[in-house]
C-alpha cells in the first residue's frame, strides 16, 4: 500500500522528492501518513477534496484485498 500511495502522490506533485509515506500497521487496519511539500498539499487534495477522496477510495479498495482497512492521512 505504501508503494501505491507513494506512486500516486509523486505523480501528482511538483516536488516528488519530498513525498514520504509513513505506515502504522495494526492487525486489521493500516494508517498511511502522506507527507508532501507544503506547496503541493493542494495538488493531492484537489478542488473540494476531489483528489484526496479518490486517493482514499483507491488505497482503501486496494487494501481490502489484503483484508485490511486503510486510512490515509495527509500531512504537510
Amino acid at each position: 500500500m505504501k508503494e501505491l500511495l507513494e506512486y500516486l502522490a509523486r505523480a501528482l506533485v511538483d516536488k516528488p522528492d519530498e513525498v514520504r509515506v509513513e505506515v502504522i500497521e495494526g492487525d486489521k487496519s493500516l494508517i498511511l501518513q502522506l507527507h508532501v511539500d507544503a506547496e503541493d498539499v493542494g495538488k493531492v487534495i484537489g478542488k473540494q477534496g476531489r483528489i484526496a477522496k479518490a486517493i482514499r477510495t483507491v488505497v482503501k479498495a486496494s487494501a481490502v484485498r489484503d483484508g485490511k482497512k486503510a486510512i490515509v492521512e495527509i500531512i504537510d
Binding site: 508503494e3 501505491l4 506512486y7 500516486l8 505523480a11 501528482l12 506533485v13 495538488k43 484537489g46 473540494q48 476531489r50 483528489i51 477522496k53 479518490a54 486517493i55 477510495t57 483507491v58 479498495a61 486496494s62 481490502v64 484485498r65
Partner: protein, 204 residues
C-alpha cells in the same frame, strides 16, 4: 501517419480546420500554434494569409503508461485496450479478478479515473478526457442509464410531473441530458453537488 502539419488560410479558423482535416483528428487532440496572424492589407497591398502549425497530441501512449504503472502498484495484471469515442479516450482493462477495481456503483473505478485524469493533467498542463473501464462495466452501466432515462421520460410525459433520478457521475448525467433532448417534450437539469449531483426530468 503525419503528426504535425503547417497550413495557410484566409483566417486562422480556416487554416486550423484545414490542418485538422489533413491530420484527421478532432481539435481536442491537437496542439495549435499560430505562426502568423492574417493581414488584410491596405488596398490589396501587403496582404498575407494566416499560418498555423497543428500537432497531434499523443495522449494515448502517456495514458497507457500511467495506467500500467498504476496496475503494477496494485499488483495486478491486465490487458489494456484503447479507443477514441466522441472525443474521449476509452481505456478498457480486462483480466482476472479485477472486479475490486469497480467497487460499489463504480465508485472505485470513478476514483481511478479521477486519478488518471489528474496525473495526466499534471503531465500535460491541461485536462485529458479519459474514461477508464474494467471488463466493460461502463459500457453496461451506460446502457442501463440510457434505458432508465428513456423509461423515466415516458413516465414524466404520461404523468405530467417531474421525476428525479439517483445521483450520477458527470458522464452518466450527460447521457441522460442527451436522451431527454432526443426524446423531446421534456427537459432535464442537474441539481446538488458532487457526489450527490442528480438529474431531474420535468415536462417541458
Amino acid at each position: 501517419m503525419k503528426n504535425v502539419i503547417e497550413t495557410e488560410g484566409e483566417t486562422k479558423e480556416e487554416a486550423i480546420e484545414e490542418a485538422l482535416k489533413e491530420l484527421g483528428v478532432e481539435r481536442d487532440r491537437a496542439n495549435i500554434e499560430i505562426l502568423e496572424e492574417p493581414n488584410k492589407g491596405l488596398l490589396g497591398l501587403r496582404k498575407s494569409k494566416a499560418r498555423v502549425r497543428v500537432t497531434i497530441v499523443d495522449h494515448e501512449s502517456m495514458v497507457v503508461e500511467v495506467i500500467e504503472e498504476m496496475l503494477k502498484n496494485f499488483g495486478v495484471e491486465a490487458a489494456i485496450e484503447t479507443r477514441y469515442e466522441e472525443n474521449y479516450l476509452w481505456v478498457t482493462l480486462s483480466g482476472e479478478s479485477l472486479s475490486w477495481m469497480i467497487g460499489h456503483h463504480g465508485q472505485t473505478l470513478d476514483a481511478i479515473q479521477v486519478l488518471v485524469g489528474a496525473i495526466m493533467g499534471c503531465k500535460l498542463k491541461e485536462s485529458a478526457r479519459v474514461i477508464v473501464d474494467v471488463e466493460g462495466y461502463r459500457e453496461r452501466s451506460q446502457k442501463e442509464v440510457r434505458a432508465m432515462a428513456e423509461r423515466t421520460v415516458g413516465k414524466v410525459l404520461a404523468r405530467g410531473e417531474a421525476i428525479s433520478l439517483r445521483p450520477m457521475n458527470a458522464l452518466e448525467r450527460k447521457l441522460v441530458h442527451l436522451v431527454v433532448a432526443e426524446y423531446g417534450g421534456a427537459k432535464s437539469s442537474s441539481i446538488d453537488t458532487e457526489p450527490n449531483r442528480f438529474v431531474i426530468i420535468s415536462p417541458a
